[in-house]
């Protein structure tokens, strides 16, 4: 992680407030994109079994919602309008995320060692060695989307963006993507510093948002980490730094600055079979043992779509109902991010409804797919 507070504003790709808003929207999309895969894996666990895995995934999912809230606070602070209801906001799974040199697919699938491997890749710390390394060329040919590796034409590109299949492109520069989520937030911090420096020279500020639109800690806690009310440059940088380091760890450490175990290391505990505790080195957890039962999992059919459910009218109806509940939930939190923060409290029971609705799907076998269960499609 190379996020820092007082970097000179050199090399910022963000030159206008509109571009900053565009980046922050991508941030919301990115933070949310991890939720469906985490939730699918979480609720695929047999109840009463796999308590350790259950709690590890649950905490990470709750903290992704915290990150979503923090990015929304930054967006509101700089006069933007968070919108979680755009058609492309929820990706079409499998989607691709930018993390490290590999551009890998993120699937909706049950808890498994492959799923855990993906989660580790999502959260993997990838500090850039130099300025040049912060970006990786976008190899469109490798994705089979163009034959010569160049970016697709603008209308095709717009369609890909609309479908939410590709995440992590540098906005406005479809030939490049970010090395890591950390570098993506680093770019936003640079942009904020650059734009705020310029604004201050002109005697103004980019922090023109209505403070009443901020989500403050009374509306959100649990899962570790506190909401930061964003009112200026320092709090904006603090919020984005927390988002980045809570995923990947502070300066490569296991813990973030609020003493929370970073997501990468939380997941690694499941791989290593031990919990981390204070004083441990990365890769060498020395806390209590933990157990993972890889077989105590419902066999959710990966990346299931409504179209796969034609032979199961009852499951199809339940899957549609789930998508509707999920859309209602996103609409509620979107309203919370748009001036009605107390709606976050009411979203709690919607989350219970989502849980119950997911469980209904995940615990039912699919007709015509022996050994596979249904699951949420997240097609909104």
């Amino acid at each position: 992680m190379s996020v820092s507070e007082s970097e000179p504003s050199q090399g910022s790709k963000i030159q206008t407030i509109e571009e900053l808003h565009q980046y922050l929207y991508k941030g919301l999309q990115l933070e949310h994109a991890t939720l469906p895969p985490y939730l699918t894996a979480l609720y695929s666990l047999h109840p009463g079994k796999n308590s350790d895995a259950w709690h590890v995934i649950r905490v990470v999912a709750v903290e992704e919602m915290l990150h979503l809230t923090l990015v929304a606070n930054v967006m509101n602070a700089v006069g933007g309008t968070p919108d979680l209801t755009k058609p492309s906001f929820v990706p079409n799974y499998p989607t691709r995320l930018p993390c490290g040199p590999d551009y890998f697919k993120v699937h909706l699938r049950p808890f498994s060692d492959e799923a855990l491997d993906t989660f580790l890749k999502i959260e993997k710390p990838a500090p850039a060695a130099s300025e040049e390394d912060r970006f990786v060329p976008m190899d469109w040919a490798a994705l089979g989307l163009t034959s010569n590796g160049s970016a697709p034409p603008p209308d095709k590109l717009a369609e890909l963006e609309e479908s939410g299949t590709i995440l992590g492109l540098v906005p406005g520069e479809p030939t490049q993507r970010f090395l890591s989520i950390g570098e993506f937030y680093e770019e936003i911090i640079r942009g904020i510093n650059h734009l705020e420096d310029q604004a201050r020279k002109a005697g103004t500020t980019i922090f023109t948002g209505d403070p009443a639109r901020q989500v403050t800690p009374e509306y959100f806690y649990s899962g570790g980490g506190d909401v930061i009310k964003v009112t200026g440059r320092d709090t904006a940088v603090a919020a984005l730094t927390l988002v980045a380091e809570q995923g990947e760890g502070l300066h490569g450490g296991i813990f973030d600055s609020q003493d929370e175990i970073a997501h990468y290391y939380r997941f690694q505990q499941l791989e290593k079979g031990r919990y981390y505790q204070k004083g441990d080195n990365p890769g060498e957890p020395s806390g209590p043992d933990l157990n993972v039962d890889w077989s105590a999992v419902y066999p959710v059919k990966p990346d299931i779509k409504l179209a796969d459910l034609a032979g199961d009218p009852e499951i199809l109806a339940a899957a549609k109902e789930f998508n509707q509940s999920y859309a209602t939930f996103l609409t509620s939190i979107n309203l919370a991010y748009n001036g009605q923060p107390d709606l976050l409290l009411k979203a709690v029971w919607e989350m219970f409804r989502i849980r119950d609705s997911m469980n209904r799907l995940i615990r039912n076998p699919l007709t015509g797919h022996p050994g596979a269960n249904a699951g949420p499609t997240f097609e909104l």
Partner: protein, 637 residues
């Protein structure tokens, strides 16, 4: 062995509950020996640990860490239990039994039965309980955290009833605040400033109040402004929020603007859960996410420095006393091997001071089994047993009112907790139960049986009828004061022993006319409230139950409150009490009896907050005694 994480409030040091054997504990010389790892014992241990003393806690319950896996084993046992009583999450333990409400029935001398723990030979039997696992009764309590009223401390002077305390509300007020911080109490000062209760200027509770349920609001529409005349005084009723030891929204103004950090689920690893109540509505016995306070949260802190050790499966069976100077010389424990076997080994654990924190009934039982009444100048050990007398009234509201949503109880009526009428009849508080008629009728399970077996409903009809019926249920629980009375007792009797030969407690509790006058008034008030709300009164009392009490030609059922108190009351001299205002024994100067047994009266507040405040207060006196006795030992890590 892993080292302790000394920064995270919610980390329970791994292995802390199992790594000290009884044999090791018996070899050591401790600054303090504490009997009981519940709320009082944990608070005292934590306070002594802070002061640098070496403490051993002797816990009768099974020897597991309070980690998430253990807690989840309690939860899954609770989910699977057919009868979800207060003890249903906990394994049956023949070596340290607990009373169960389902075991309540009179025992006839000579009966060869052993399906009970509390021995009751009277016709009236209380179904009261307390819990014997690490964490004590805080592992089943509801979490209401009311202060006592200023007038509760001098009831005798004011109304000629009960006993005065050797302490006033003023004396206890700072310790109430300390207890509210430790337990994490959610409330608003403006809601709690009534009947003389006061708070220092600028004080706010750690967290904002729990949101009143829709049911509370429905009841308030009928009750708010209702007028009641009692002993020539007029009272205006209103529905008021209860303070609760349950995580809510932290108050940013707490502690001069520093705010409050709620303590969530404890475990041996970072789990980040339970920092806010989710409204699961099964607060009693066990909160699924640990948003409700339990003593494990204090115990985790107490264990952090490494100078507090726990020995589990260690049932205190005798307090050893030097007959010459009357000082305690040790606690003899029976350390049983497992829950499946009655084999045990006996050890005596020694220290400078001894603190019995085993709850009102067990403290008395242990002292009586140790023949300490012989040395008591007051002869009051085991006397003045108290518990709140609960009268339940239930009705069916005309419209669905959201019953079964929110925490078990968020609001009630508190206007009749105090007043001049207490000269002739008991005061009471009223709980509005968000969990329906369960306590009175066994709902919702009984509703289901009735709808299926008697009315033949199924499918959609069943679902709709069940939902409609349950969401209209209103249960009002009247928590009625029961004054100290020497004839309400805990005793022991050689005929009644448990599996490892410890004497069982014999309890005799009668509901006096003073309390029953309050109950009769409460019953009348319930019918008035139901009428105001248009609710159909479904209350029935059964004179054939063990809980039946007759008053003025009417039968009532008075059920236990699990607020046991008063078996070693505090007072002003060795003739009128067992302990002084610091909870130090009058008769044994290195012995403290810390817990609800010390309360000389219980008024109309759930006892835990007051007990916790007293535990903090006594801790400062114990530290003073230890400091005088010896310099603090160096802490070894």
């Amino acid at each position: 062995m892993t080292s302790y994480d000394d920064t995270d409030q919610m980390i329970f040091p791994a292995g802390a509950a199992t790594q000290t054997s009884a044999a090791e504990a018996a070899k050591g010389e401790w600054d303090a020996v504490i009997v009981g790892g519940g709320m009082a014992g944990s608070i005292v241990a934590e306070q002594l640990s802070q002061a640098g003393y070496r403490v051993v806690i002797l816990e009768a319950g099974p020897g597991k860490d309070l980690d998430l896996a253990e807690y989840e084993s309690y939860l899954s046992r609770f989910y699977g239990a057919v009868i979800k009583d207060n003890q249903s999450p906990y394994p049956f333990n023949p070596n340290a039994r607990m009373p169960r409400s389902t075991d309540t029935m009179p025992v006839h001398p000579g009966t060869p039965r052993d399906d009970f723990y509390l021995v009751q030979e009277d016709k009236y039997c209380t179904d009261t309980t307390f819990t014997r696992v690490l964490g004590g009764t805080s592992m089943h309590w509801e979490g209401k955290a009311l202060r006592m009223l200023p007038e509760d401390f001098n009831l005798q002077t004011k109304y000629g009833q009960g006993l005065n305390w050797p302490l006033s509300y003023d004396d206890l007020e700072p310790y109430y605040r300390q207890a509210e911080a430790e337990l994490g109490v959610a409330a608003e000062v403006e809601d709690q400033t009534y009947l003389g209760m006061y708070f220092p200027r600028g004080y706010v509770f750690p967290m904002h109040r729990m949101p009143p349920s829709y049911l509370d609001q429905t009841v308030a529409r009928g009750v708010d402004g209702m007028r009641v005349n009692l002993a020539d005084d007029d009272y205006t009723l209103q529905v008021r929020s209860f303070p609760q030891a349950r995580n809510g929204v932290p108050n940013a103004a707490y502690d001069g603007g520093k705010g409050f950090v709620p303590v969530g689920a404890v475990s041996t690893s970072q789990v980040e859960e339970g920092e806010r109540c989710q409204g699961n509505t099964n607060c009693v016995p066990i909160c699924p996410v640990q948003a409700k306070y339990h003593a494990g949260k204090t115990l985790a802190k107490a264990l952090r420095k490494g100078n507090v050790k726990i020995v589990t499966q260690a049932v205190a069976s005798k307090v050893e006393i030097n007959e010459q100077d009357q000082r305690v010389t040790g606690i003899t424990i029976k350390n049983y091997q497992s829950l499946d076997s009655d084999s045990y080994e006996t050890y005596t654990v020694k220290g400078t001071v001894y603190i019995l924190c085993a709850h009102a009934i067990e403290n008395a039982r242990l002292m009586l089994a140790s023949d300490m009444q012989r040395m008591s100048r007051s002869k009051l050990i085991g006397r003045n047993l108290m518990d709140h007398a609960y009268l339940l009234s239930w009705g069916l509201l005309p419209e669905p009112a959201g019953t079964m949503r929110g925490t078990s109880c968020t609001s009630g009526i508190t206007d009749l907790r105090g007043g001049r009428f207490r000269g002739t009849q008991a005061g009471f508080g009223v709980d509005i139960h968000n969990d329906g008629w369960g306590w009175a009728t066994g709902s919702p399970y009984t509703d289901l049986v009735e709808l299926v077996d008697k009315r033949g409903l199924r499918g959609r009809d069943l679902r709709r009828t069940l939902g409609n019926q349950i969401s209209r249920q209103l249960l009002l629980a009247f928590m009625i004061d029961l004054l100290p009375d020497r004839s309400n007792t805990v005793t022991v009797d050689d005929r009644y022993k448990d599996a490892i030969g410890n004497l069982k407690p014999v309890v005799s509790l009668k509901i006096p006319p003073y309390t029953m006058r309050g109950a009769a008034f409460a019953r009348k008030l319930a019918t008035d409230i139901f009428e105001k709300l248009g609710a159909e009164d479904r209350t029935t009392y059964d004179k054939d139950r063990y809980s039946a009490v007759e008053h003025d030609g009417q039968w009532y059922n008075i059920v236990g409150g699990n607020h046991l108190a008063g078996t070693h009351i505090m007072g002003t001299n060795p003739a009128n009490s067992v302990v002084d205002h610091t909870q130090q024994s009058w008769d044994h100067d290195n012995l403290y009896l810390v817990g609800p047994g010390s309360l000389p009266s219980i008024g109309t507040s759930n006892i835990s907050l007051t007990m916790a405040a007293l535990a903090f207060r006594s801790s400062t006196h114990i530290v003073r005694q230890l400091r005088a006795a010896k310099a603090p030992a160096t802490v070894r890590s």
